[in-house]
Amino acid sequence: MGPLSQLVRKEWLLLRRDGHALLLLFLMPTVFILIMSLALRGLFAGRSQVALSCIWLDQDHSPESAELEGRVRAHPEFKVQAVSGPEQELREGIRAGKAQFLVLVPHGFGRALEGRRPLPLRLVAAPSLEPVLLKLFDASLREAAARTYLKVALRRLTKALGGDAALPGPGLDAMQGLVASPSFEGSAPDSTPSAVQQNVPAWLIFAMFFIAIPLSNTWVQERAQGTYARLLSLGLPRWKLLLGKLLPYMVVNLLQTGLMLAVGVWLVPVLGGDALALGAAPAALALMALAVSFAAVSYALLVANLARSSEQATILTGVTNLLLAVLGGVMVPRFIMPPTLRALGAWSPMAWALEGFLDVFLRHGGLAQVAPRVLLLAGFGCLSLGAAALLFRRHQGG
């Protein structure tokens, strides 16, 4: 074995014997992924295409109320369950979270449409519901009710105009064509991630960058104990010592990637969450993992060379990683951040990493789509590594 293989083997032995580091690198992100994917499932569901649940209590049982129910059911975003029973019991069900909405169609609703004063529908929402979702459902219900009312009104008008003759011009169903189907500018319609799509890459990236803690601690100790002085006195060049850290820790990062993706694909659904879809571009995924790892380990080497003690290294790593994670959308998704914070977060390498993974998982991106993020991460890694090498030279003399 050459010197470089010896350095890599040594690092591997040291890591295997550092239980705390292994827990930090592998168990912590696994637990975070599981908790966050499951706990935030509802919140993310509200932003994606998961159906909003609705209990439908029809006290009228008229053709009009049936038509109204049919129109609401036709929305792919709504999951309607027709029920019967006392209203109070159903309201308690809403409060207990059994569904997000209760729609009550009062007795006489259909007949009232023919009169001058319609009987209003009643809509009750769950207390924890986001107001925007309530507005969305309310608007859809009003639209369905208006179309039902118009149909009745047209029927009456037709009758008043003389029997069965149809009115000239477009029919009621042509209302659908008044507004074209909405489209997203520049991105696919499903570009908002689900809880698992957001949390698996987010906490994976966090864990990859957290490698700076064990790495910087061993680096500082080796420097303080004179081990590097001894290795340099054996004629080992500094770049080999840096590479001797970079390579094994990148392998650790790739093992983290494999484990976290496996957790997202297999373990989260077992526990009741959605399964992570990996996209259709394994090469892009592998390239992203390599780029993130290079950036994370190079950054760790920079911190290790900036710090003068293990305590300093731990604090510096902890604080900067948390800051990069908060800004980069690991802890709070960037799409719900205000514009200023979102713009600030665009400077975080964790944001580049997260967007790159989401390109693959969510937007079905390939190598071409992830290339800009990969270049940014590689550039950040090269700058960090270069600065680390300069500081190493300065600390160790020569």
Binding site: G2, G397, G398
Partner: protein
């Protein structure tokens, strides 16, 4: 022979005075050279320069006729530095540490195994070869620190405070090992604070302070009566007379 001429060195971040300030000295081949000096006198800096870890902005070092700045690899191949700190990996076993340093030092295969066994034997570490270094006693750790330095059978051994913080038995063992290495032809530079060790072991002694050499010679030469001055009774007596009694950082 080691020849050091007008050596200057200043650490980049320090606003303190230079670590070495025009130092010149000679260490004859095959000698056991004791380097004495108070804290901050420049002993460790000199050893770092001799081992090629640091390079001097001014001055020159020759080892066996080779200019260190031009023949760094060749000089490093025949010398070994044993740092003052325990410069190995606590979570590796004694043998794993030796195997690692043999490997990065360019040894491989059966040659590496043979040298590891030899170093274990020389440092009396055979019974502890599978023990994790972090679980070794202070004396065992010091012996391991030296054993690593012996792996490449260096012609020049640079020892920086090799007996700090150990029991008398381990100190006796280390001193005997140094004597044996010297007897086998190794040139040894032995930096220490312990006057009695240096007086007992070394054939030549250099006293260093504030980056300059204050005195150099055999113990007898150093203790000889200077005209008009009272004779120093011991090396410590002489050392304090040369470096004064003011406390150092």
């Amino acid at each position: 022979m080691i020849k050091v001429e007008n050596l200057h060195f200043r650490y980049p971040s320090a606003s303190a005075p230079p670590a070495l300030d025009g130092l010149s000295l000679e260490v004859p081949t095959g000698s056991l050279y004791g380097l004495l000096g108070p804290n901050g006198s420049g002993k460790t800096t000199l050893l770092s320069l001799l081992s090629g870890i640091l390079s001097p902005p001014l001055g020159a070092i020759w080892v066996d006729g080779m200019d260190l700045s031009l023949h760094l690899a060749a000089v490093q191949a025949r010398s070994a530095l044993v740092p003052q700190d325990l410069a190995f990996y606590p979570r590796l076993s004694v043998q794993e540490n030796l195997e690692f340093f043999a490997g990065v030092g360019g040894l491989s295969g059966t040659a590496a195994s043979a040298r590891v066994d030899e170093a274990l034997r020389l440092a009396a570490l055979l019974p502890n070869r599978h023990q994790r270094a972090e679980r070794c006693s202070g004396g065992l750790k010091r012996r391991l620190n030296i054993a690593i330095g012996l792996l490449r059978r260096p012609a020049l051994l640079l020892l920086d405070e090799p007996t700090v913080g150990i029991d008398p038995q381990s100190r006796h063992f280390i001193m005997q090992s140094v004597r044996d290495l010297h007897a086998a032809g190794t040139t040894v530079v032995y930096a220490s604070h312990y006057m009695e060790e240096v007086a007992e072991l070394c054939d030549t002694v250099g006293v260093l302070d504030k980056g300059s050499l204050l005195a150099q010679g055999s113990l007898e030469q150093l203790l000889a009566v200077e005209p008009g001055r009272k004779k120093a009774r011991t090396l410590e007596d002489l050392f304090l007379r040369l470096t004064r009694t003011a406390l150092r950082d």
